[in-house]
Symmetry: C2
Subunit: 461 residues, 2 copies
């Protein structure tokens, strides 16, 4: 049963499993104690730190283990923002960072700090110029992921690091997605990552802070992990994390090359096999194993269930698959279609046969969902115009219904006529313009309306 | 090789090991995902929460898993102090809480809050009256451990809970040491514990917050664990923690009875076999598996090394075994001797033969350390008095040397004469009065002196 969501959590690497089980017997004692069990635990912890630091490219005393990647990000951001409080309270993040970065940014803002979100291009990448323009004399910290977790696009970390260095601003790089695949470009000041993303166990993140970065850990601390990560060290998991990081890195070049070919195939074939689909993210500057596409007129949650039933585990940034009813902030920031969104991230070892079978199953799954939603056939031209201006009341309807109603109605106006969609679904703001772009219609803009928002569209074809 | 430090970290329980290894295959996926691997992980997490809540005696939705007991305490305290900010900024803790509680209290104080430390009796227990007296109209939170981690004394949790309830103050109980042995008395508002203390894996703490307690999680959070513990859940370890908690609880009554007999034997025999020893903590109201004693004229670190060489792993609250050069805050608060301190905490399965062998080895180990330190023979009376008042310059000397110098000198003054010890070792403040109490001499008090403190002692015998 192919699992295609390694960007959420990768199955445990055999090396991680082996190291974890072995370290259960050797690494359960308190490494701060002087007796033999403690000394043994300390040796394991020190060796794991050295191994991880070597892969990360830092000194062992610059690296601490945290309970998760999220905690590494939170600790790194809070510590640097506090350590550089005298410089100012301004924080720069890209608009497509992982939620852990954005949550910490919200906390910073709630505590009186200011935040600039650097927008991204349609590929999902920030422009170095935009990143540079966001830096100010009172900027305490800037954050940029090495690669995006939802669409796979690589960020220009080297360029961002250079403009940060010139401005004297430390750069925190969330390397959670890219660390298993290769080194992070030099120039970072802090680096965060998460073991379960590379096939290590849950319960281990890592945070590297370069010597010289002013850093003041926040909240209560203790003497463990240089005072940067409180609580008893999870040594068996740390040992497994370090061992598996080394193992996946040793396999990364070959496995990356292999998966890149499979992802290229998905990119090409999905665009050909599925009507009204948008494959998103940078086709070249991307993670080797990840591809994301959105299917017009498709309920993402229903599609995920269909694929799950067919044996494929994938994830989605569609609003209907989240508890918040808002689409993925990444897709929103990119300005791409969010409905019917599917992210495929292949774990190491995925075979061409697995991918081919997925490509066999996908078109019918999408078509089935569309049929059940009553999606109109492609030819709007078949409908007879009845008015120069029509209004669609889609209030109370959830994604993808408002867009489906728009598609049904556009044929009711002549070329040059307008359709106004009334919607209280937050997603319409993203998906109606995206639909226009895909269908060659003109998006005229939005205005407030009773009970929601009015989105206006002019028929061009 | 007997390991006698389960109060630091218990060896992994077989049930924990088995559950952990099994859950590595079933519990690695993201429990927030809708596909089968995610649903399976969610089921494991829910089942573990229910099992742990049943043992703790709370509703499953009142309990969250944290990355460690320390983080459970930090989160519980910070969340309640923030949630009850309108009531006031006053925090009550006992003087002998675990360092995680005291660290969080320091953080609270640094952020402008106020803290009252409730003193303890010589047994290590707080008096309920003292605890009640510390509560004020602006008290946001009170913290009391269920049993002390260094001397094993049980705290009057039920009484403290009652006075807290009457005062409308939530009570956080750090149950890290007692939870494996039995239920915490009712009346707590928050409860924290740590899996590796009961033979569960590292990486899991638990925090229960009763419905109705005003709670505002601090720092950045996410949607995991009810917004109270950010970061990807460590499900295999959580499953192992819950399974082993249930297992140790099922064995607790029988194993507790057995270990209580062994500890009673240590308490009696140590007092008989080792000269100048003080067995500390409550002899009756205590954890079943833990006993602590202090040996006059002994360097705790050297003694630990001797015992380690003989195959016994124990811990110590002596200053010379810590990085801070201050003795255990628990022993200080109790006002008992801190030098030559040894804590023995027996893991389940410890045999009478292990304990007997320890009792065989201990007296010679203590005698050996004393001999090497040049400890005077017991008879101070043999020395001829040379003056009515002598001054011992022990500046620059570390524990236990100042007390040894005092013992060497006391015979140099007649009964009724005084010895003044000049010392810059923080430990002297605790150990010189403790020596006087053990030797029947009179402690006259301290005063500032050039380079340190002058401690005055009158010879009575």
């Amino acid at each position: 049963m192919p699992y295609f969501d390694s960007a959420s959590s990768a199955p445990l690497h055999p090396v991680a499993r082996q190291a974890l089980v072995a370290a259960l017997d050797e690494g359960w004692a308190d490494p701060a104690r002087l007796y033999r069990e403690g000394r043994r635990a300390r040796l394991l912890l020190d060796a794991a730190r050295e191994a991880a630091a070597e892969v990360v490219g830092c000194r062992p005393d610059e690296l601490v283990f945290t309970p998760s990647g999220t905690r590494a990000v939170h600790t790194g951001m809070a510590g640097t923002l506090a350590g550089r409080r005298r410089v100012g309270g301004h924080l720069v993040v890209s608009a497509v960072e992982h939620s852990s970065v954005l949550h910490a940014a919200q906390t910073h803002e709630a505590e009186g700090g200011s935040v600039t979100e650097v927008p991204v291009e349609r590929t999902g990448a920030v422009a170095v110029d935009s990143f540079a323009a966001a830096l100010r004399p009172d900027t305490a910290l800037a954050c940029l992921q090495s690669a995006n977790h939802e669409v796979g696009t690589e960020q220009p970390v080297a360029g961002a690091a250079e403009v940060c260095r010139a401005a004297g601003v430390p750069l925190l790089v969330d390397a959670a997605q890219s660390l298993p695949w290769g080194p992070v470009p030099e120039g970072w000041s802090l680096l965060a990552a998460s073991a379960h993303k590379w096939g290590g166990p849950a319960g281990v993140g890592l945070l590297a802070v370069r010597k010289g970065v002013r850093f003041a850990p926040q909240g209560a601390v203790d003497e463990r992990e240089s005072g940067r990560s409180a609580g008893f060290e999870n040594i068996p998991a740390i040992v497994a994390a370090a061992a598996s990081l080394r193992a996946v890195r040793a396999e990364a070049e070959e496995e990356g090359r292999r998966l890149r070919v499979l992802v290229d195939r998905i990119r090409r074939r999905v665009a050909r096999l599925v009507p009204d689909v948008e494959v998103v993210g940078d086709a070249e500057r991307r993670l080797p194993h990840l591809v994301t596409f959105s299917c017009l007129y498709v309920d993402g949650e229903v599609l995920l269930h269909e694929l799950d039933r067919a044996g494929f585990s994938v994830s989605s940034g569609s609003s209907c698959t989240s508890s918040t009813l808002t689409p993925s902030h990444v897709l929103s920031a990119m300005g791409v279609l969010s409905e019917g969104n599917v992210r495929v991230s292949l774990p190491p070892g995925t075979t061409a046969a697995d991918v081919n079978r997925f490509l066999d199953v996908l078109p019918a799954a999408v078509a089935g969902v569309r049929e059940r939603l009553g999606v109109p056939s492609a030819g709007a031209a078949d409908t007879v115009p009845v008015s120069d201006a029509l209004v669609v009341d889609a209030l109370g309807m959830r994604c993808p219904q408002p867009v489906i109603e728009l598609a049904k109605t556009i044929g009711g106006v002549p070329v040059g006529g307008t359709v106004t969609v009334l919607s209280d679904d937050e997603v319409a703001r993203l998906d109606i313009p995206a639909w226009c772009a895909m269908r060659g219609q003109e998006y005229l803009g939005e205005s407030p309306a009773a009970g929601g928002v009015a989105y206006r569209v002019r028929r061009l074809v």
